[in-house]
Amino acid sequence: MDMLKNIILTAFTAVFAENIIFSGALGTSTLIIVSRNRKNLLGFGLSVTYITALMSVITYFLNKALRIDENSYIYTPLVYIIILGAVYILTLLCLWRFAPAVFRRMKKYIHISAFNCAVLGALFLISERCETLGEYFIHGLGIGLGFVLAVYLTAIVYDRLYSEKAPYSFRGYPLLLIYIGILGMAFWGLSGHTLKF
């Protein structure tokens, strides 16, 4: 029962209370690039989730070796990038071999879903916050799903943010930032924080 409670709590924290976009801003530039293109947003979000979840499991084992050396912070990003590169190539090969239609749809943006601040940042955050393999995986999955949620919440208002009815100075990018900020404030309040004036 305690384990189930922990899983739900960890997932809730990663998706809502500490959403990677709304509270950490990690991957915001990627979100902006993707929302501009507006093609297969869900597919993009899910590929970020897949890579984050898979990489979080691999990171658990990597960190066991890396934490032996106190100067490992110097080369940890290099190790993460090498492994991320290998996962990226293997994923592309698997898609090309077993799901060619998906491969054709995703090949244009899968590199952005693998190499971005959301994925790399998630690995560093998980390394700081988690201890067990289960926590690593649930947190990685939760961060990915949090990214999907952020992409979805952005996509549903995209037309309004970029509408010609909006004043020119605010249209598009500035309104998008203000919108994410207001949502971020709501998520922050949801996790029980209050503002001190």
Binding site: A25, T28, P77, G85, I112, Y173, G181, G184
Partner: protein, 206 residues
């Protein structure tokens, strides 16, 4: 010929600094700005780390042959970024250990910034080497200037200080210290910047 060169240089300079400013117009590499640029000291550290990693990574990456498939090229760019990070973190840790600690995980995250992952292939590496060099320099300068001005204003508004020193502001708005406050303030800042650019354009047309 010389006039053409001058115009081209002017265009590259204006694009990097103003018209296509990476933060205020294009929305690139904004995560560290939203989270950490709530005081001037952090902002100085951010721009040093960003400039070092982005400049040297793009410079070295521009020599990666185009004959290598795109899938591998992207991995190579980020690998070069991770290699550039090694001397950068050692150097900055030696001279500014507190600064490196203050920016935390955002330092290594510059390895996968949008300049390196997306803009490199779509803009920088399509240009001639000379143009590319200037474009990178002015984009980085545009980014740095915007971050420093934004962080200074944010610090004044959020805590009534600048670089930790009191400014005598009658009121402060702590909300701007938080990431969501950063989003809202950057949105307002980008809108103000767009208005100023529009005003300049109108004045020039008259």
């Amino acid at each position: 010929m010389s006039n053409d060169n001058n115009n081209s240089l002017k265009k590259i300079m204006l694009n990097g600094l103003l018209n296509k400013n990476p933060i205020l117009v294009s929305g690139m590499v904004i995560a560290p700005v939203i989270v950490l640029a709530n005081n001037f000291k952090n902002a100085v550290m951010l721009v040093i780390a960003f400039s070092l990693i982005t400049f040297f990574t793009l410079l070295v990456s521009s020599f990666v042959p185009k004959s290598i498939v795109y899938t591998i090229r992207i991995i190579l760019y980020t690998l070069i970024g991770a290699l550039v990070y090694v001397p950068s973190v050692i150097l900055l840790n030696y001279f500014m250990p507190e600064g490196v600690e203050a920016i935390g995980i955002f330092f290594p995250l510059f390895i996968t910034n949008s300049f390196i992952v997306t803009r490199s292939e779509s803009i920088f590496f399509l240009e001639t080497k000379g143009k590319m060099f200037l474009d990178i320099v002015f984009c980085i300068l545009g980014y740095d200037a915007a971050v420093l001005i934004f962080a200074a204003l944010r610090e004044i508004l959020a805590s009534g200080t600048i670089g930790g020193k009191m400014t005598g502001m009658p009121a402060s708005f702590r909300v701007f210290e938080h990431p969501f406050g950063g989003f809202i303030m950057l949105g307002l800042f980008a809108a103000l910047f767009r208005s100023i650019l529009l005003l300049i354009k109108r004045v020039r047309q008259k």
